[in-house]
């Protein structure tokens, strides 16, 4: 009987221990759990090779310097394309797209550098400010369109990535990881 119990115990233990949890994913998962867009957060970080062995400050950097900047650049490219072809003969649409172009230039050329400088120099509340502003800019772009927005998907991604970045910065503000 004892041997049966031990047998069972010793079978279960390895199975438990070698469950496929990724040691590398652990900090990412813990961090992303504290953001409102867990899936987006985890996916963005895990697909970036720099997230290996990264601490929270590095994760924030990746979310901003890679993910946010890339998504914002992609959106700006899309806006430029739309502005160039006949699609934009509608003046209201043209105006909205131009305004969005300006906002996205600010995200890339204003918010992102501000956030990176704040993360590097250690005054994290300005990183929070920059990420909050990026979310606001994406949101404001979306509501510029009087009818259907051609940028809804991209605006939402940029907005959500910004919110995730803001949440990660908040973790830094609260702790010393």
């Amino acid at each position: 009987m004892k041997s049966l119990i031990l047998f069972v115990f010793l079978l279960i233990l390895p199975a438990e221990a070698f469950r496929p949890t990724l040691l590398l994913g652990n900090l990412i998962e813990r961090t992303c759990r504290q953001t409102p867009f867990y899936d987006l957060c985890v996916w963005s970080l895990k697909t970036n090779p720099e997230s290996r062995n990264a601490d929270v400050k590095k994760l924030a950097r990746i979310m901003v310097d890679s993910v946010l900047k890339n998504k914002a650049s992609d959106t700006l490219d899309l806006i430029d394309e739309l502005l160039q072809d006949g699609f934009t003969l509608d003046p209201a649409l043209h105006k909205a797209l131009s305004s969005c172009a300006e906002r996205y230039s600010v995200i890339i050329g204003g918010d992102v550098p501000e956030i990176i400088e704040a993360l590097e120099t250690g005054d994290y509340k300005f990183a929070e400010r920059g990420t909050n502003d990026a979310a606001m800019e994406a949101n404001s772009c979306e509501v510029e369109f009087p009818g259907k927005s051609p940028l809804t998907h991209m605006n939402k991604v940029v907005h959500d990535v910004s919110v995730v970045a803001a949440s990660i910065v908040k973790i830094i503000l609260h702790s010393q990881w």
Binding site: F7, T21, D39, F126, M136, A138, K148, K156
Partner: protein
């Protein structure tokens, strides 16, 4: 795992050494299976050990989430605003509790006229670019000096230097060249906030935080190149900087903003620097010095409050209990209390508490631990941060500066070319009538901007009504208003127990007050109001509030309801003073017991279209209002005219 198969009962006992009395311990089957048994035992042990190790490593891990599919944004079919965190503008007439219809999200465009209007007429701001914390304010040889965190390159924070301006009267400021730039390894990543100490022998010592080339926060010493220069144009950095580095146990990026020094009874100087301990405990460390170049960290802390997080811009100063005059930072003795103030990094709010300082142990204790630093009173209940006081030895006043940043987007800031203001400097006194509050009041010199005035006596504002006040231009105003309430019915429970969702929330005794920067059709308005509330013991508790929710039709600005409690004593009416200056409104209740700074960005209620109204949205009281309103002149803040004799 192969066990001997000839004896079933033995199968499971293959993992054990056979029991001595077991008949099969000897004999042929045992001989054949023993090496196998041993191997199995070893294998099992190895597996067991490995599992233990893995389990220990695994201990902090949590279950894997469901496998992630590549996230795709959920398609929305209408122009949607994604962010639920920001407060929404409440369309007029719509209950504050309902979700505003998306149809109300009008998209419009900012014009240059709207942006230009936002610039203040008499609040300090640089000609352009970004400003934040006020630094090292002081009075020297007939001039008030203000330094400030400044980005010379952009309207966004970054690349921080010390801007510099001077004034004869704290109101009319003249811009000077930059005082300090990040040009040494110990401040190359930012010349951050600091304070001035005026020594008895006339020397001026400036201590400030530098962010080093490795992003550590250190404290540095600087001093005027030429003390006889009343403008203090040039500053030298002590060659032996930094004079203080983060001590052991303190995070190197949570150690900043040294205060003005005070003299202890032992004749040595002390300063205090905010930080945090164990991530969530806000603390203030004390350093002692005789020469401002060598410092000793004293044991313990000046004070600590759990749960408040990093303390930035700590300020520590004495106030006279008789409330009559400001005190030098080193003042001590009977009839004096000490104020400890901190800017909380986590919440971006400035808090203070009154208490007692023991100069022998260098510890400060709050009068009321339930209203300790960071968990009780706020310096200002609006958009306000990084405040700092100094002692004006000329007029024997304690003067308070506070940074007011923008609440619009950085796109707008870059277009306007500037961001942030300072408040009008406020004199600070202990409120000896309540014993629990400080009083902040705009410095008297601001009255020099007053032009013509209009007086309204005992205007009746009935429950649920609005009264326009005909005063001419309404974008630069100094308003003094006093309100008396007369009950209509002895009423009911109040549903709203604080500022609520703003002026749209009606309760028995409030809200009532004024509407500033409003247009004729009230499509944009900013109520500043009182809301007295019945408490369970029958007394009235009063809230003082500023409601930005309808301040602008624009949807890309923050529009909050700000406010807090204000003590109103039995022999007092409800009185407020409001400084209106384009996109900044400073509101003071009961002589400055509760203050609210607001930023507003109207699109229609600008220039000649801005109006002023009285309002009373209470259900159970009429209100009689008496007001005196001055139009305010510009302060003509401009570069120092070096070519002209002054």
């Amino acid at each position: 795992m192969e066990a001997s198969t000839s004896h079933d009962p033995e199968r499971n006992s293959a993992f054990y050494a056979p029991l001595p009395e077991h008949p099969s311990s000897g004999g042929a089957p045992a001989t054949r299976s023993r090496p196998l048994k041993g191997f199995v035992v070893i294998l099992a042990s190895v597996v067991f050990l490995l599992s233990l190790v893995a389990l220990i490593i695994n201990q902090s891990q949590e279950p894997l989430p469901m496998p992630n599919r590549v996230p795709s944004a959920s398609p929305t079919s209408k122009p949607a605003s994604f962010s639920e965190a920001e407060p929404r503008g409440v369309a007029e007439g719509v209950s504050a509790k309902s979700n505003p219809s998306l149809l109300n999200e009008v998209s419009f465009n900012w014009t240059n006229a709207m942006f230009s209007w936002q610039r203040s007429a008499y609040h300090f701001q640089p000609q352009k670019n970004w400003m934040n914390d006020p630094d090292g304010p002081l009075y020297h040889k007939g001039w008030y000096h203000l330094f400030y965190q400044y980005n010379p390159d952009s309207a966004i924070w970054g690349n921080i230097t010390w801007g510099h301006a001077v004034s004869r009267d704290l109101i009319h400021w003249l811009y000077l060249p930059l005082a300090m730039v990040p040009d040494c390894w110990y401040d190359i990543n930012g010349v951050w906030t600091g304070s001035a100490t005026l020594l008895p022998d006339g020397q001026i010592v400036m201590l400030y935080t530098g962010s080093t080339n490795e992003s550590a926060q250190v404290q540095n010493l600087a001093y005027p190149a030429n003390l006889s220069d009343p403008l203090l144009l040039d500053w030298l950095k002590y060659p032996g900087n930094p004079v203080i580095v983060p001590p052991a146990g303190i995070e190197t990026d949570e150690f900043r903003d040294p205060t003005t020094a005070w003299l202890g009874p032992d004749g040595t100087w002390r300063i205090t620097i905010g930080s945090r301990f164990n991530e969530t405990i806000g603390i203030s460390l004390v350093y002692q010095t005789t020469n401002f170049t060598d410092y000793e960290l004293l044991d313990g802390v000046l004070h600590a409050v759990p749960g408040t997080g990093m303390w930035e811009c700590v300020d520590f100063y004495p106030v006279a209990i008789n409330g009559s005059v400001g005190l030098d930072t080193s003042a001590f003795g009977p009839g004096i209390k000490h104020v400890l103030k901190a800017s909380l990094d986590d919440t971006k709010v400035d808090h203070y508490a009154l208490g007692t300082y023991d100069p022998v142990t260098d510890k400060w204790t709050p009068d009321n631990p339930e209203e300790d630093v960071g968990i009780g009173l706020k310096v200002d209940y609006g958009r306000y941060y990084a405040s700092k006081t100094f002692f004006d030895q000329d007029k024997q006043r304690r003067i308070l500066w506070g940074w007011i940043n923008e609440t619009d987007t950085e796109t707008a800031d870059l277009k306007k070319g500037w961001a942030s203001l300072q408040t009008i400097p406020r004199s600070v006194l202990y409120d000896n009538k309540t014993g629990t509050h400080l009083l902040q009041w705009p410095v008297k010199e601001v009255e020099s901007l007053r032009l013509n005035s209009t007086v309204f006596e005992e205007v009746l504002v009935e429950a649920g009504s609005i009264v326009p006040l005909d005063i001419g231009p309404a974008t630069q105003l100094d308003i003094l208003a006093e309100f008396e309430i007369e009950s209509l019915e002895s009423n009911t429970t109040d549903e709203v127990s604080d500022c609520g969702d703003g002026a749209i929330d009606r309760s028995t005794f409030g809200p009532f007050g004024i509407l500033v920067i409003a247009d004729d059709s009230l499509s944009e308005l900013t109520p500043v109001f009182f809301r007295p509330v019945n408490t369970s013991d029958g007394s009235l508790k009063t809230y003082f509030c500023a409601d930005e929710t309808r301040s602008s039709k624009a949807n890309d600005v923050f529009k909050q309801v700000y406010g807090g409690k204000v003590p109103v004593l039995d022999d007092e009416n409800y009185n407020m003073r409001v400084l209106v200056d384009h996109s900044i409104v400073e509101s003071f209740a009961q002589g400055g017991r509760t203050v609210i700074s607001s930023r507003i960005y109207p699109t229609e209620a600008i220039y000649g279209a801005a109006r002023l109204f009285l309002f009373n949205n209470a259900t159970g009281v009429n209100v009689k209002a008496t007001l005196k309103i001055w139009e305010m002149n510009s302060a003509f803040i401009r570069p120092f005219p070096f070519e002209e004799p002054l």
